[in-house]
Symmetry: C2
Subunit: 413 residues, 2 copies
């Protein structure tokens, strides 16, 4: 168990244990980003009848064999009306977008293609084939038809559909409860007095933000000191959650109490080292109820390990089919050195190129330099077997949080 295992094997082990959680019923207003746990059927036909797609006139196409044609306007139909009239030859009805098509008509002529002659007379200037600008009954949704399947992520469009079939509440996959614990005598908490010799605890907060970005509000358990009782108590508390993230405590030194204490508390540790950089010392274990990740004390290593191992686990638990970061093909602006052995994640910024994206490393890749993570748009993936990437070659990057938007407005012309 001391040997480092390949990252994709570590991911498989994590996903084997981090299985999807149960379900809960929540208000539609809180449902964005959640996963449906049941199929959803339509409770209605939509549209409920043939309706107009435009503001204009409902006509009989046969009346327009010669244009311009003048028609008598016998009604004025708006959305929400229930017209009972029948439109005979030579007649038509003024009609609004979304309004029911009256009996006898088969076509809508948009208002722009007409000319009002008198209050009850209109001139139609164009011919049209039957069915034009009419939305058919049940074209969008048919009563009782399954319209969304279990496992669907609720995006804004999906949420609109759920409102359309009147699901004011929805049954969705639960989100895991998550605790975050830092460890180490050298750490200074966010609200502790300033001590020039201490290291401020950044990891708890960066991890918190990574968890928040997945839509979960974690509990911060604070800092466990290098004291067996304190550590044991805080770990015991953390193991009550679905997921426990322990920042620091992955070193192999004599001061590392985390591992034996976790084992005493009943955790079975599945791996302790992974062939990745940054982040080699990263551990994963399970109790009956809890998934525990021990993340490196270096802030960048901690964040990269979270991205590669914790994010897919959490998204899997929440029922997402899409659990891995979207990757982008890029071209490198400079060479990236690499010795075979570990998969390496290089922090890069993206820029624009004729055909797509260029990636440039953010500078120092030291795992202590959190600024480089803050500035990065993406992580360049350097495969374990690679012996370096030359400038100009194609490569792939994983997009990071906060990169869904860009400054330039491209392509809108």
């Amino acid at each position: 168990m001391k040997d480092a295992i390949p990252l994709n094997e570590a991911q498989r082990m994590v996903l084997h244990h981090a299985v999807q959680l149960g379900t809960e019923r929540i208000d539609l207003l809180q449902a964005l980003g959640r996963i449906l746990s049941n199929d959803i059927r339509s409770n209605r036909d939509h549209p409920p009848c043939d309706i107009s797609a435009m503001d204009g006139y409902a006509v009989r196409a046969a009346d327009l064999s010669v244009v311009p044609a003048q028609l008598i306007v016998i009604a004025d139909i708006k959305a929400g009306d229930l017209p009972t009239l029948k439109v005979e030859a030579g007649r038509c009805a003024r009609i609004m977008t979304g309004a029911p098509i009256p009996q006898g008509t088969d076509t809508v002529i948009r208002v722009e293609d007409t000319q009002a002659i008198a209050p009850d007379k209109v001139q139609i200037n164009v011919i049209a084939k039957a069915g034009k600008d009419i939305r058919s009954r049940a074209e969008n949704l048919r009563t009782n038809e399954v319209i969304l399947t279990a496992g669907t992520e609720i995006n804004p469009g999906t949420l609109g559909i759920l409102a359309m079939v009147k699901c004011a509440e929805v049954q969705v996959r639960c989100r895991p409860s998550i605790a975050i614990l830092s460890s180490g005598d050298e750490l200074e908490g966010l609200h502790d007095a300033f001590d020039v010799n201490k290291i401020p605890d950044a990891n708890s907060y960066a991890l918190m933000a990574q968890v928040q970005a997945l839509g979960i509000v974690p509990t911060l358990l604070g800092i466990a000191r290098d004291d067996l009782n304190d550590l044991r108590e805080k770990l015991e508390q953390g193991l009550q959650y679905d997921v426990l993230l322990v920042s620091g405590g992955t070193s192999v030194g004599v001061h590392d109490f985390v591992r034996p204490t976790l084992e005493q508390l009943g955790a079975q540790m599945h791996f302790w080292r992974v062939q990745m950089r940054p982040g080699q010392p990263v551990a994963f274990g399970t109790t009956k109820h809890c998934k525990v990740f021990c993340l490196p004390g270096n802030p960048v290593s901690s964040m990269v390990c979270f991205e590669q191992l914790v994010t897919p686990a959490l998204r899997n638990m929440m029922g997402h089919a899409r659990i891995f970061r979207r990757i982008l093909p890029v071209r490198l602006t400079q060479a990236v050195a690499h010795r075979p052995g570990n998969v390496e994640f290089v922090r890069v910024v993206l820029s624009r190129d004729d055909g797509g994206y260029l990636a440039t490393p953010t500078g120092s890749q030291s795992s202590g330099v959190l600024l480089s993570m803050a500035r990065a748009d993406a992580l360049l993936v350097v495969p374990s077997a690679c012996d370096g990437l030359e400038a100009g070659v194609k490569a792939i990057v994983q997009l990071l949080d906060g990169t869904e938007f860009e400054e330039e407005n491209r392509g809108i012309e």
Copy 2:
């Protein structure tokens, strides 16, 4: 004002008015995704002194001219210690990751490259040059140096840095208050009794979700009926917010009360039609305090207009530099017909290709088919002057919400 204006001109007009809001002080725990309104300076050197990057032994490189070399271990230094000893030739200190480098030493040898001979004696198996595996004082942050500038988006890495310099509260750009109003007699509210002849109000909820995806919780004002007093009262209420979204009410028919009522209430309307599809009838106006958008009643048109006009406006108000959707280069799997005139947004799903992404239209592009929006990964941008795109050509798409992740784990090997 009745003529349709080009989309990029409409965007420029909207951004001219939707300027960035004021600032507020918030807790760091709530700061993810917000924009810093002030420069942030470091309150400390980080690391506070030279520290070890590894678990191992702090040694004098000069002692390792011949290896293996045996050294006397005179101390045991862990993170948080403040060693006062000086290490002389032939001696070394056991040291933990993050612990201060003791005087006299200049190199760290990782524990894997050593062998314990006795409790106070270690054999070093490798040579090393001075400075190896040592992190220099202030390598990450230097006291008083500006480390984050005003305008920076708070991503997880940034949030970690803010914790590192003990910003338990941060000054950030405000988020706009937003009201959403639907209009039309034909609409049935989410909690109204089922009526087979009515159209369920999906737009309010899809718009709500689009707003939520930007980190803002909007207020739903419900449905204004085709009654002047009701409409006037609800619009007046909506104009109290920073932004008012009116769903429906963009038609040019006689039943459209929205425009005159807005003008009576003091709104200056800047445009009423935009050269885009779906979404042509979309309006934008301003009062002294409020930005008001009238969005089409068709759910897809409404969502696409929100993406192109409201999203950049809201992100601009919140102080983001990145206000437009990230675009991806793709290759089309099938031809897309287009007549020059409007910029068109075609809902597509993405799939994978050797070099990058393929885009395939979701099927019916009727603006009533909200399911196609729910299923879409992205919007294919067809420029206004284009007279159709052939299968196989390169094109660009805008990524939609919920597409930051994908099913396959690509590149991790």
